[in-house]
């Protein structure tokens, strides 16, 4: 029999997220890859499974005062404050370049209220090139006293259902790790219609400067990301994989192809490379290369053989 020619160096790296088939499981994490163009000198963008852009809100946001970032042990804290150009400028200024890339563009969205989420989704639903919407539910719900949508299954489900109603593209709900039981959140958004879940967003953390006796971030607290959080992320992906049937996108400290494939073994259908892009701007493409090499060497029929293939017991 003739070997079937497939994309990416003749190994089958295709994975499915909702109704989308991606050429490979490697995406970039929201907020760590700008609007992709920033990386065009470093990465062959066409080779990515998908690109997830910085979180977009209805109106532009200026973000938090500096300092916004601080390095921690094997990680970093950020309190960017969701700075973004707003959905209108995103569509007019950023989408033309992105949609010309020929790879799926996932738009990460955020809001203060269920209504705001669904209005952004409505705006994006009509835009050519938007392949999926990733809903960042780690934002405070101003109408509910600032509790994060992602901290309450009911609120998370409400946002999910509203966004689902507002657009036709697959809806991915990005879960917060700052909860007692992430599986409750995952089940709630699956029931509310999510096509996939991505996890984890950042852990809430803090850093203090002894000399000035001040918090190192102007915002006092920020989001912890990078290799430090990988064990927590891997555990949550594994736990969620036991309870949902929708695809999982694994995120958290992924730096190498090995990291990415560990998340797939734990149950992820795809992964996102985040903080690693700052250290190695070529990280996302390196992960694609590394997965392809592994699939070839191990003579796997497809990268999909790795999904949930963890041997326990």
């Amino acid at each position: 029999m003739e070997p079937v020619k497939v994309k990416n160096d003749e190994v089958d790296l295709r994975v499915t997220i909702g109704s989308l088939e991606l050429q490979n499981p490697v995406m970039t994490a929201s907020g760590t890859f700008g609007y992709a163009r920033e990386f065009e000198d470093f990465v062959n963008l066409h080779r990515l499974g998908a690109v997830v852009v910085k979180g977009i809100s209805l109106a532009p946001r200026v973000g938090n005062p500096p300092p916004r970032i601080v390095e921690t042990a094997c990680g970093m804290l950020n309190a960017i404050g969701l700075e973004n150009v707003g959905v209108d400028r995103f569509i007019s200024e950023k989408m033309p370049y992105l949609s010309a890339l020929g790879i799926p563009v996932f738009v990460n969205i955020l809001g203060d209220s269920v209504e705001e989420y669904s209005r952004i989704a409505e705006r994006l639903a009509q835009v050519e090139g938007v392949a999926a919407i990733e809903v960042n539910i780690s934002c405070p719900n101003v109408k509910k006293g600032g509790v994060a949508f992602g901290a309450d299954p009911k609120m998370a489900a409400a946002v999910t259902a509203a966004v689902k109603q507002s657009c036709q593209v697959p809806v991915i709900v990005k879960l917060s790790p700052n909860v007692t039981d992430v599986t409750l959140m995952a089940k709630a958004v699956q029931e509310a219609g999510a096509d996939a879940v991505s996890l984890i967003n950042t852990l809430i953390g803090m850093a203090i400067d002894l000399r000035s006796r001040r918090p190192r971030l102007a915002n006092i607290i920020g989001g912890l990301s990078g290799p430090a959080i990988k064990p927590v992320a891997l555990r949550m992906v594994y736990q969620v994989a036991q309870v949902v049937t929708i695809p999982i996108i694994g995120i958290g400290g992924i730096t190498t192809a090995e990291d990415a494939m560990e998340f797939m073994l734990a149950g992820a259908s795809a992964v996102q490379v985040g903080t690693a892009n700052f250290v190695n701007p070529r990280a996302s493409e390196d992960v694609v290369d590394g997965i392809a090499a592994y699939v070839r060497e191990q003579q796997l029929g497809s990268v999909r053989d790795l999904i949930g293939a963890l041997r326990v017991g």
């Binding site: 000198d41 973000g63 005062p65 300092p67 916004r68 390095e71 960017i80 892009n277």
Partner: protein
């Protein structure tokens, strides 16, 4: 605008003064593309701690493809970098950011304080390449003392430039601040001041230039994670409200566009 990620060889490491180190790297692509005021991000360790790259102004480039950085040891990253061995490979990203907008060499005044001297040498040498006979830029450099300043003044002399020096302790040149020197030389309004140094110094220069109606460009420092406009971590408050990003909108800004009263 081309940017590169390269493993480059450390070909020379010099201790210029106490805790001040100059590294010479063999980085032809980055050196060739570099403009004065741009910077590089250097990976400190092969492991994951320290995790992030550190930004350094491009201090000098050569036609042989070398690139220099000049830095002070202030923390763990610079400490490790100061101990990098000749022959080691370092990972660089660059050239990054927007550099100085170069005007007439004869109407340029370069003011560098402390490690803010680093980009000034590259800027001066570019001006000297552009300059017609007898139209050299003015250069004012400040540091804590003679030990820190003297070795660097030589490099400007090698370019054929006289340096007006200022030291905190008076051990070399003017006893006091670079702003005192700047005041004394009475620039005409067709000059542009190019400045890099500690924030209070740049604020003082900005206010002086504002009064004298002189254009002033400053190179600012912030914490940076990516250095390429992706993380939005390097926010610089703007006079008009909101923030610019030091790594992609800067690090060089028109002084008048920034919010100085922090």
């Amino acid at each position: 605008m081309s940017q590169f990620q390269k493993k480059v060889e450390l070909v020379r490491s010099e201790v210029i003064a106490r805790d001040v180190v100059r590294l010479t790297l063999n980085a032809p692509e980055i050196a060739a593309a570099a403009l004065p005021g741009q910077f590089v991000m250097i990976q400190i360790a092969p492991g994951k701690d320290p995790l992030l790259r550190r930004p350094f102004s491009i201090h000098q480039t050569s036609s042989e493809g070398t690139l220099q950085i000049l830095f002070k040891v202030v923390g763990r990253g610079t400490e490790l970098l100061a101990h990098a061995k000749v022959g080691e490979q370092l990972s660089l990203i660059g050239p990054l950011g927007k550099g100085f907008v170069l005007g007439e060499p004869g109407n340029a005044c370069l003011v560098g304080g402390g490690m803010g001297i680093a980009p000034m040498l590259f800027l001066a040498s570019r001006f000297q390449q552009l300059a017609k006979q007898g139209s050299a830029p003015k250069v004012i450099l400040g540091a804590r003392n003679r030990d820190e300043l003297a070795p660097l003044i030589g490099d400007f002399k090698n370019l054929g430039l006289e340096v007006l020096a200022a030291t905190d302790d008076g051990s070399l040149g003017h006893h006091g601040l670079v702003t005192d020197v700047l005041k004394k030389i009475n620039l005409s309004p067709d000059f542009t001041v190019y400045s890099c140094g500690p924030r209070p110094m740049m604020a003082a220069i900005h206010h002086l230039c504002l009064k004298e109606n002189i254009r002033c460009q400053v190179s600012v420092e912030t914490v940076m994670a990516c250095g390429m406009g992706a993380c939005l971590g390097c926010a610089v408050p703007l006079k008009a409200g909101g923030y610019a990003h030091a790594c992609s909108d800067g690090p060089v800004f028109e002084a008048g566009e920034l919010l100085w009263s922090l």
